[in-house]
């Protein structure tokens, strides 16, 4: 307990004595963590959006209707045969779920989603269909190819998925995911370097002090701990400031800019609490490790 109190008082002592470098280090953490927070919020929102969009990719198997095929509408036997083929593909794990949608069901769905279009129609032109949701959006093409080869099942008019849209969505999603990961990595590397530099300045200005401490018989840890605690305090302070600014941005700036991120009910950034916790944690780790590593070469007295 006494040791701990001594440790804290040593750390506070050196913070007071080197206020400007402490403030500089804290501001570095603050900026780094604020950017990290924005990056996490935007990045996780985009990843969530892209996975939401991927989920919307479906493969439709349209059965023959009265006037679309030469052989007339698909029979129940043909529909059962198609189901067997779908089940075979499903056994490979490519299919997340599939659903039979009768022409009546499809019609009522369409009336609900697109009332203007259905209003102009006198009869239901929609065929019976299977709606297949792939396990991964990327597999839609594979499922369609398997259903088409060697030829379309009897009674099936066509197998379709929105090729162009889904390929573009997938490409964009991949780019977003990679650039998010890159951004976080670069940001972490940059802020670590910045913090290490700031702390090095602060320690460099005190290398004489460290030399004296070592000469009167202080162990390396006795010298190191107050500096590390100081680093922790800087990291914590900077991160807390960043969380405050980020929540102000969230509450005040975003509504003011009319930024609307409601792309779908299941599209969310990570919860703010989680992002904040991550920021504070990263700040603490950066502060402590940055100091610890930087101190090493000054302790060799």
């Amino acid at each position: 307990m006494t040791r701990f109190r001594l440790l804290v008082s040593e750390a506070l002592h050196s913070i007071r004595a080197n206020l400007s470098t402490t403030v500089a280090a804290m501001m570095t953490v603050f900026i780094g963590m604020f950017l990290l927070g924005i990056c996490i919020a935007l990045g996780s929102w985009m990843v969530s959006w892209s996975s939401h969009t991927k989920k919307e990719i479906v493969v439709n198997v349209y059965f023959c209707a009265q006037d679309t095929c030469d052989n007339g509408p698909a029979t129940n036997k043909q529909k059962a045969q198609t189901l067997v083929r779908i089940n075979q593909i499903s056994a490979q794990g490519l299919i997340k779920k599939f659903k039979y949608i009768s022409k009546e069901e499809a019609w009522s769905n369409m009336k609900r989603t697109d009332p203007e279009l259905t209003a102009g129609l006198t009869a239901n032109p929609l065929p019976d269909a299977y709606k297949i949701t792939p396990t991964r959006g990327e597999d839609a093409g594979k499922i369609a190819t398997q259903l088409r080869s060697p030829s379309l099942p009897p009674g099936v008019q066509d197998v379709r998925y929105n090729k162009k849209v889904s390929e573009r969505v997938l490409k964009v999603a991949k780019v977003i995911e990679i650039s998010f990961a890159l951004m976080v990595l670069i940001l972490l590397a940059a802020s670590t370097a910045l913090i290490a530099n700031t702390i090095r300045l602060s320690i460099f200005s005190r290398r004489r002090e460290i030399e004296v401490m070592k000469l009167v018989g202080a162990t390396n840890w006795f010298v190191r701990l107050p500096f590390m605690l100081e680093g922790l305090i800087c990291g914590f302070g900077g991160a807390v400031l960043a969380v405050i600014l980020l929540s102000i941005t969230k509450v005040v700036a975003m509504p003011a800019l009319h930024l609307d991120f409601n792309a779908g009910s299941d599209v969310h950034a990570w919860p703010f609490a989680l992002t904040s916790m991550l920021m504070v944690l990263t700040g603490l780790v950066l502060g402590a490790i940055g100091t610890g590593i930087t101190l090493r070469r000054f302790l060799k007295v």
Partner: protein, 291 residues
């Protein structure tokens, strides 16, 4: 000069008085060796003591504080700072190390503090071969060697008392003991009324007294002083020497590197002279230069 040691004669009195008194109490090695000094015995298990010595050479007598044997320090292939020097300093001795700049005096001090390793040779401090000391025990060694430097090496943003207390803090001394010991040692060096002054509010002599107080507060068995009076005027130097003598009288061995010719000549203590890395002279009651 404020802050003069109360228990010691000031520099305004004639310094001869000090030397006279000093020579009666510690005039010879024998006299020093008989000084009761349980505080400084490295073999007793107290927190200040070094770890138990292991397998010291049979040639080392029990009364030895420092034994250097064939110590060589080479910096570059071409720079030989110390060249195969051997000497022994006994417990309780007061020894001057003299020599021109670059003769290897400071290298010797740094080797004793294990700030660097000798290229060859063994150094035994307090019965312990410091060449075989694990890096984690170096701090233990330094707690047993008080050191005083020409440039004082005080922590600039701490008061005199805090500077002294720091040396106790690093070895986990209790706050209660610190409160007791710090004023004690500061009054010994005559700075009891300047406890709360920062180093830049003190004169050079006063700063050196703080630094001596810090070095001595643990009552180390050995005090190494690297030109402690190098930056001070002669009167102030005499005051510093008085403090060092009174510390020596408690049985603490003192090794003092100096350029102060007058001081060495007046003192007539043991003098080890270095010349280009070699010991050119080792006299029991020597002067600054050979007669």
């Amino acid at each position: 000069m404020p802050g003069r040691a109360g228990c010691l004669p000031g520099p305004t009195e004639h310094s001869a008085k000090l030397f006279e008194r000093f020579s009666t109490s510690c005039g010879s090695r024998v006299a020093v060796a008989t000084t009761p000094a349980q505080d400084v015995d490295l073999d007793t298990p107290n927190p200040n003591a070094l770890p138990a010595p292991d397998a010291t050479p049979a040639t080392v007598s029990a009364g030895a504080m420092i034994v250097c044997h064939g110590v060589t320090k080479r910096f570059d292939p071409n720079v030989l700072a110390l060249d195969n020097i051997s000497f022994q300093i006994d417990k309780g001795e007061f020894v001057f190390i003299v020599g021109a700049s670059g003769s290897g005096k400071s290298t010797l001090v740094r080797l004793l503090l294990k700030e660097m390793e000798p290229t060859r040779g063994t150094i035994i401090v307090g019965g312990r071969d410091i060449g075989r000391l694990r890096p984690s025990r170096v701090s233990q060694l330094r707690r047993n060697i008080g050191c005083v430097f020409q440039d004082f090496k005080l922590l600039p943003n701490r008061s005199a008392a805090e500077n002294v207390a720091y040396a106790l803090n690093v070895q986990g001394e209790s706050a209660q003991n610190i409160r007791r010991k710090v004023p004690e040692v500061l009054s010994m060096v005559g700075l009891v009324d300047k406890m709360d002054s920062l180093p830049n509010q003190l004169s050079g002599g006063e700063q050196q007294r703080v630094s001596i107080a810090r070095a001595f507060v643990n009552h180390p068995p050995l005090l190494v002083c690297d030109e402690p009076t190098g930056n001070l005027d002669p009167d102030t130097s005499v005051g510093i020497m008085q403090v060092l003598y009174s510390i020596n009288r408690t049985g603490t061995t003192i090794l003092m590197v100096t350029h102060d010719r007058e001081m060495v000549d007046k003192m007539r203590r043991r003098v080890i002279a270095l010349e280009e890395g070699k010991i050119s002279r080792d006299e029991r009651r020597g002067g600054y230069s050979s007669q």
